[in-house]
Structure formats: C-alpha cells, structure tokens
C-alpha cells in the first residue's frame, strides 16, 4: 500500500542516479529537500536529515500529465480530485491538467475557481483546462480571459471535437491572444460515425463498427493549418495514427507552436488485443493497428511527439462490464504509465531514458508554461524516484484511482515508481 505523509523538515535522497532533463545529464548524487523545497543537488552531506537510500534508483523531476479526467464535479463516484491525486502520486506524477468534460462542464470563470480552490488541498498540483466553447457544444466561445485569470491553463472541448472549422479558427485566435494552448480532440465525427474501435481487419472480424484512421488524419491536418493561420499554440492530444504523426512532423518544420502527446496505451496495445471484446480497451481515439503503433514510436524518437500523457479516464465497473457497443470509452492510466512506456520505449525500442523522461517532465511543462528547472535551489520540490529495471505485474492492488478500468491489469511492466515528492508530501509506493 502506498504511504503518504508530510515531508520531514530535511529529507536526503542519497546515492541515486540523478537525471536532470534540463541539462540532459545523468550523474550519481544526492538531493536534499528542506521544508518542501530543493536545498541542494549533488554530493550533499547533512546532519539531522531523514535519509532515503536511492541506490539503484533514478531521481528526477516530478512527472507532469497534460491530460487527465478527475470527474469532479458530477461523477465523484468515478474519481475525485483527491483520489485522482493519489493515483497520480502512485504513478510518479506531481502535476496534472484536468479536462473540462465534467458535469457541468468547466466552461466559466466560476467553475475554474471551483477546481482551483479544491485543488489547493490536494497533494499534487492540479491545473484546470477550461472548455473552449460554452457547454462544450462547439458553438460559442467561453470567457477565456476570465477563466485564465482564475487559473485555466489551456482550453479544450476535450472528447467533443470542434467540428466547425470557423469556430475552431476563432477559438485559436482568441486563445492565441491570451497565449494559452488550444487542445482539440482530433476526430472528424462524421467519418468516425458510430465507430467503437479502429476500422480494419479486426473490426470486420469482430463485426464492430470501425473508426477509420482518416477520421484523425483529416482533423489533425485541419487543426495544424488553422494554428499556422492564426499563430496560436496548438497541442495535439493522444496522437494515434501514422498519418497524424506525418502531419505533425511536416507542420513542425514550418511552424513552431505545435506540440503533441502520445498515450501509454497507444504505444502498448494494438487492435489485435481486442479479440475478446475487452471493454477496457475501448477508448477514443481507438487502439490502432501495429503499423500505427510503430509510427507513434518513430514519431516519438524523432521528436515529432514530445509529450507522454495518460488520458486517465476513470469509469465505473457497471459502465465497463457490459457489451462492447454500450461500454464507456476510456481507461485509467496514471499508475501504469511509467512501467508501460519504459517497457515499450526503453527496453523494447532502445530509446534512451533521457528522451522518455523529458517527455514526462520538461516537455509537457514547457507546453503549459510551468516552471521547468526543478533542481534549482529553493524551488518547491517535485521529485519522482523510480527503479528503471524492475519487472513487475500490474494488478488491481497497484491502483489508487477510484475506478479500476485498466487493460494493463495482468500485464508485465518494466520500471516502477518508489517515491514521489510533491507539495511537501512524500509518497512511498
């Protein structure tokens, strides 16, 4: 069981391998946290400190997830800011951005305020993403300036794609004026139609309606063009297709305010894994063919995809323990993230650990304009300490979310979070 306690006055994380994703350096050393702040990084000798032996472990920046659903307000039976925070700490995340598709949606300065106030009491940093249009209906702009003042960090209609190109243009123009990133769930809803999984050989075999890769491709292409037109920052969420990787790669050559994320589940699974109609693999965008998975890995290697985000989406057992067509879309992902991405990207694909850590730390922080140099003295400590080699089986017991809709249950993962330091809390996992 994870233990969560207030940090001692002085904690020394000793003999770890410090990986600094800003300097892109790794070295043996110690990190001293005093009163919840970074006091020293390097070879530290100090008295009266609680000492945590970190030999064999990596000590790095706390992870930052640009894409989670904490379901508050409205569906507190699935997750709350509090339970979501515990799931985050177990996965090494000290900072998350919550999507606005709650009930009611977060589409006003007042509702941003609600999240902001509640988040203060939580053991991690939570930043609300505001809805881009009122009621997420894709029609009228929200009061983005007022919402920014109250703490909105970016704008998105989340699961509901902004289909009207004219509205998307205005969202980008207005959000761009405020220097806030815009995130659009990139799927053409007409092409997606009633698709519940990737369209292909598997959907035909299973008799399920398919969602073609082109539904994502055309929408990502449109959004990139509109970002360039308006000069706004565009963050492309959960890229799932080879075509979208290509479009992002191409646009990044011409226009710099583009970032993109990939989820652990799109890197880990392929649509062949749906052969038993496992509803925990029902997700939007869908799990694609292996050739898309390979393209995502290539895109990650090349830097076209710069962030890893979980799209942590809790659902009740009742919503998942049903037939495939009516089951809810989405899966939780915070607790299994590191083990899944290290297994695929580092151990299988031989991508260097630094690239993966950057995609979990400095890169997402840069997208949102958060402080990035977390090893600077006197910075509020956000640390993640993990074993990069431990092979373990992910079980229900590793889940701290209120929900347990994870297709990773029973899967062998590599890399396990041991300690997370956030907001003067120490989580021992």
């Amino acid at each position: 069981m994870m233990k969560l306690k207030k940090c001692a006055k002085k904690i020394l994380f000793k003999n770890g391998t410090i990986i600094d994703p800003i300097l892109e350096k790794g070295y043996k050393g110690d990190v001293l946290v005093e009163n919840g702040k970074i006091a020293a990084v390097g070879n530290v000798d100090v008295k009266n400190a609680e000492v945590i032996d970190c030999s064999g472990l990596i000590v790095t920046h706390g992870f930052c997830d640009l894409h989670v659903h904490f379901r508050e307000p409205g569906r507190e039976d699935k997750e709350t800011l509090e339970t979501g925070s515990r799931a985050a700490l177990a996965g090494g995340f000290t900072r998350v951005c919550t999507m606005p598709n709650t009930n009611p949606p977060i589409d006003s300065p007042e509702s941003i305020r609600f999240i902001y106030e509640k988040a203060k009491e939580c053991p991690i940093h939570i930043h609300p993403i505001g809805a881009a249009t009122k009621g997420q209906l894709g029609q009228e702009l929200t009061e983005m300036a007022g919402m920014s003042t109250e703490g909105a960090i970016a704008f998105s209609d989340d699961g509901l794609p902004i289909m009207d190109g004219g509205v998307m243009r205005r969202v980008l123009e207005y959000g761009g004026m405020l220097d806030k990133p815009i995130i659009n769930h990139a799927e053409d809803v007409c092409l997606r139609n009633d698709g519940v999984m990737n369209e292909g050989r598997m959907s035909t075999r299973l008799g399920l309606p398919g969602n073609p890769v082109e539904a994502e491709g055309v929408m990502v292409h449109r959004d990139l063009e509109l970002a360039r037109l308006t000069g706004a920052k565009l963050h492309v969420p959960h890229v799932s297709t080879a075509t979208a990787v290509k479009h992002v790669t191409d646009m990044k050559k011409h226009y710099k305010h583009i970032s993109a994320e990939v989820t652990p589940h799109h890197l880990f699974f392929t649509d062949d894994d749906l052969f038993e109609y496992n509803t925990n693999l029902k997700v939007a965008p869908p799990i694609r063919r292996n050739e898309d998975r390979v393209a995502l890995i290539k895109g990650f290697k090349s830097g076209a995809i710069d962030c890893i985000a979980t799209d942590h989406a809790p659902h009740t057992i009742e919503e998942k323990e049903s037939t495939f067509d009516v089951a809810a879309f989405g899966m939780i992902g915070l607790e299994s993230c590191l083990g899944a991405v290290l297994k695929v990207l580092v151990h299988e694909e031989k991508i260097d650990l630094m690239t993966v850590i950057k995609a979990l730390t400095v890169n997402p922080r840069e997208v949102m304009g958060f402080i990035t140099n977390l090893f600077e003295n006197n910075t509020d400590a956000e640390l993640t300490i993990f074993d990069p080699e431990e092979t373990w089986e992910f079980t229900k017991g590793d889940i701290y979310s209120k929900s347990s809709n994870s297709p990773f249950i029973g899967k062998s993962l590599v890399g396990k979070v041991k300690y997370t330091v956030s907001k003067s809390y120490l989580a021992i996992i």
Binding site: E199, R201, T204, L208, Y277, E318, T323, D325
Partner: protein
C-alpha cells in the same frame, strides 16, 4: 464423436474436421426427420434455455424444434417479455437463468461479442444464434450442410455471397466456414455494403453480378435491410435491383446450372425475384429443413447426447 470446443460461438478458427463432423451428424438426423415419429431421446433430462434478446422467428423456431426432437427440456426467454425491460442488466439476467441449473444456452443478441461475454457469466454450454453483425455460426453450418447435400463436396466449390455484407453475421460466418472447408468465396454487393479489409479473410470482392454468376456454383443471396437505404448506403431499390438483383432474366443469360440459397426472410422482388425463389434452382426450403437437422447435430454433439 465430440467437438474440440466446448461452445459454438463462431466459425472463425473453427476446426474443419469438426464442421465436417457436424454436417455428417446432421445427415443422420435428416433421416430422423423423415420418420413418422420424429423424436429421439438423445437429450432427455437436459435443459436448454433460448435467450433471445432480439427478435427472431425462424431461428428460434428452428432451435426449439431441434430441442424438442431431441427430447430436451426447453425454456424460452425473450427480451421484450423479460425483466430486462425493468432495467436488469445482461449479467444479472443470465446469472439468474444460470442459477436455475441450465445445461446449455442458445443466445441471440444485437451486440457483437455477446455470446463470448455470456461464457464468462455462466457454466452452461453456449451456442451463438447470432450476435449483432458478428457471427451466426449455425446458419452457416446449415448453409454448408445444404451445399454438401447438393454437391457432395465443399472443397473447391465456388460460392458467391450477394448483397449487404457489412451488416451480415450470416456472411461473416459463411466466409469463415467455407474458407475452412476449402471453398472459394466471392462477395458481391454495393461498395458501401462491403466491409473494409474483408479481402484479408481470404475472399474476393466483385461489383459485377454477372461475372459472379458466370463464375459461381452457388449463390447465397442475403436480405437487403430496407432501413439501410435512408442513410445513403444505397440510393434506391430500383438501382439495387438493376445492379445486384437475382432475376430469372439475369440467370438465363448464363447457360449453366446454379444453386440459389437465401437465409431468409426474403424481400421478394428486391434482392431476389419471386420466380427465382420458387424456381428449381432454389434450395431455400431445403435450407430450412437442414437448419433443424444441423441444430440437432450441434446440440447433440455439444451436450454429449446418447444414441438411441
């Protein structure tokens, strides 16, 4: 004689020798159906529940008759008359039925994968009687039994499947079964009703019905669901009939014998002309009789029935 798999959920990956065993067993039951007393005690004491979460007339009657001819006790459940309308979940419904000590469940459900899901909730043998647009294995077995009866072989047999392939569980099960038995399959219908990547299952696709008729030994003509018309999957019955309708005139252009099948219910005058449906080439009513015999064979083999 027994089958390798405990349930019959679909024909994808189903062993060819087991399909042959079912067909052979079906012919022995055909003899029973020709007797004055059409009942055998093979499944005496076994209880079978027919779970119909979707409307069905011929499949349900066919299964019921097969069960009665084998002397099994049967219970019928249909969604409209059950507690499902009171908001009970699929899981609760089937677990309640299971608790009543059932040996086998025959399930018809609108969702692909429902039969597989049922095996997770009950200990009984599960027979898929159609799960959405996924599979309908007993229909494909009765189709193959009928073809085998007519031709005496399946290996190398050329079968055209005509019409709405996308929304057809009959097509998918026929494809898997026929390919397993070594037959050649060509699909023919409007491009909007052919599922993507279907060629990867080992079939050919054609949009030219006359070429398929010229090539085929038998045609399995599928029902066109009228409700597909409004959502721009095809523009009109007139156009469908002119491109893909099976008519005497069209068949007369090809100087050959061709066997015509239809899983029913037919839209006479749409996908098939009445004169063809009632003509000498059609084996549509043989299919219905073989349906009872095939389902008797399946129940008998899966429930370990005793011979007389």
């Amino acid at each position: 004689m027994s089958l390798q798999q405990r349930h019959l959920l679909g024909l994808e990956g189903y062993p060819a020798e087991d399909i042959q065993t079912i067909i052979d067993t079906a012919f022995t039951f055909r003899e029973v159906l020709d007797r004055p007393i059409k009942k055998v005690p093979s499944l005496q004491g076994k209880t079978i529940v027919n779970l119909f979460f979707e409307n069905s007339t011929r499949t349900r009657i066919s299964f019921e008759l097969a069960q009665k001819r084998l002397s099994a006790d049967t219970v019928n459940f249909s969604a409209s008359t059950s507690s499902l309308t009171k908001g009970e979940s699929f899981k609760d419904t089937v677990q309640n039925i299971e608790a009543m000590k059932i040996d086998a469940c025959v399930i018809r459900h609108p969702t692909p994968g429902a039969a597989l899901r049922l095996t997770e909730y009950v200990d009984a043998v599960v027979i898929n009687a159609g799960d959405g647009t996924h599979e309908h294995p007993t229909q494909a077995i009765l189709d193959m039994t009928s073809l085998y009866e007519k031709f005496g072989y399946l290996k190398g047999l050329k079968v055209g499947i005509i019409g709405d392939i996308s929304h057809s569980r009959v097509a998918l099960s026929n494809i898997h079964g026929l390919i397993a038995m070594g037959a050649d399959v060509t699909l023919c219908g409007p491009a909007t009703l052919i599922p993507p990547h279907i060629e990867e299952l080992g079939v050919k696709v054609s949009y030219k019905i006359d070429e398929v008729i010229e090539w085929a030994d038998a045609l399995n003509v599928l029902r066109i669901q009228m409700e597909r018309m409004g959502v721009s999957l095809f523009p009109s019955i007139r156009e469908y009939r002119s491109l893909f309708g099976i008519t005497t005139e069209r068949l007369a252009n090809h100087k050959k014998d061709i066997v015509i099948m239809h899983p029913g219910p037919m839209n006479r005058g749409v996908e098939i002309e009445s004169a063809v449906a009632d003509g000498d080439q059609a084996i549509i009513l043989d299919q219905v009789l073989n349906g009872v015999a095939s389902r008797m064979a399946i129940l008998y083999l899966l429930l370990g029935g005793k011979t007389e």
